[in-house]
């Protein structure tokens, strides 16, 4: 007979402890690390953390160390399957390379965004700007 895990935030998170997880933050960042602890607000403590930057089929890792994340900034936490991780078709490249590609994409996207915003403003739509969510 399976133990009845209570329907609480703790119940949902307890089996993720000491596992390698991917955390998606509201600003769009993807953080990978060992999930060490949490509290009733879903604040997280993570160890051996890297920020993984993705661009199409490539990625780069940036070392962060220990991270204490405030719960409200989290979108989702996923347990990384260590076997599946070795099978993913993504290629690792250096941080500098990926940053150049990402900034190229961003400048292009920002130009398009400005044009879009100007048109939408005529109709009364206002954008949130930097304070909005970017995930």
């Amino acid at each position: 007979m399976e133990a009845l895990i209570p329907f609480t935030t703790s119940g949902s998170l307890v089996d993720l402890v000491d596992k390698k997880v991917l955390v998606i933050l509201r600003d769009g960042r993807k953080i990978i690390g060992v999930f060490r602890s949490y509290d009733q607000f879903a604040n997280f403590l993570m160890e051996s953390v890297v920020e993984r930057l993705y661009h199409k089929m490539e990625y780069a890792d940036r070392d962060i160390g220990i991270l204490l994340v405030r719960g409200e900034n989290v979108v989702a936490v996923g347990e990384i399957d260590l076997i599946a991780e070795d099978l993913i078709p993504l290629r690792e490249i250096s941080v500098e390379n990926i940053m150049t590609r990402i900034t190229e994409d961003n400048t292009k996207r920002d130009k398009d965004q400005i044009i879009k915003e100007n048109v939408l403003r005529e109709y009364g739509f206002v954008s949130e700007g930097r304070e909005g969510d970017a995930y």
């Binding site: 895990i5 329907f7 609480t8 935030t9 119940g11 949902s12 998170l13 993720l16 991917l22 998606i24 509201r26 993807k30 879903a42 993984r52 993705y54 089929m57 990625y59 719960g71 409200e72 989290v74 979108v75 989702a76 936490v77 996923g78 347990e79 990384i80 399957d81 260590l82 599946a84 991780e85 099978l87 993913i88 993504l90 969510d133 995930y135």
Partner: protein, 102 residues
């Protein structure tokens, strides 16, 4: 509280959670809490090329505040029961407030 109870009845069903950033995750509902945070097992992502980071993730915890929709099979839901519960809830609220009860 009503939808918390509703989701509790949905555990072990396959559902699709659509996030506010358009990411759609399909999986088995394992757990839910009072904030409607969702725990899904055995997940697949609808458009994996757009979200390559989810490739090696098999189960996840999703914060309730980032969910746009939760999609489920019609057979999983007894809408009559839900309607009754809703009306009962509204009834009690009005009684407690001393309002006219229709």
């Amino acid at each position: 509280m009503l939808f918390f109870s509703f989701f509790k009845t949905l555990t072990d069903q396959v559902i699709t959670v659509e996030l506010k950033n358009d990411l759609c995750i399909t999986g088995t509902l394992k757990s839910v809490d009072q904030f409607l945070n969702i725990r899904l097992d055995g997940i697949t992502v609808e458009d994996p090329e757009r979200h390559p980071h989810m490739m090696a993730v098999k189960n996840c915890f999703i914060r309730g505040s980032v969910v746009r929709y939760v999609r489920m099979g019609a057979r999983s839901v007894d809408t009559t029961l839900l309607e009754d519960a809703t009306r009962r809830g509204e009834f009690m609220v009005r009684v407690l407030k001393g309002l006219r009860v229709d």
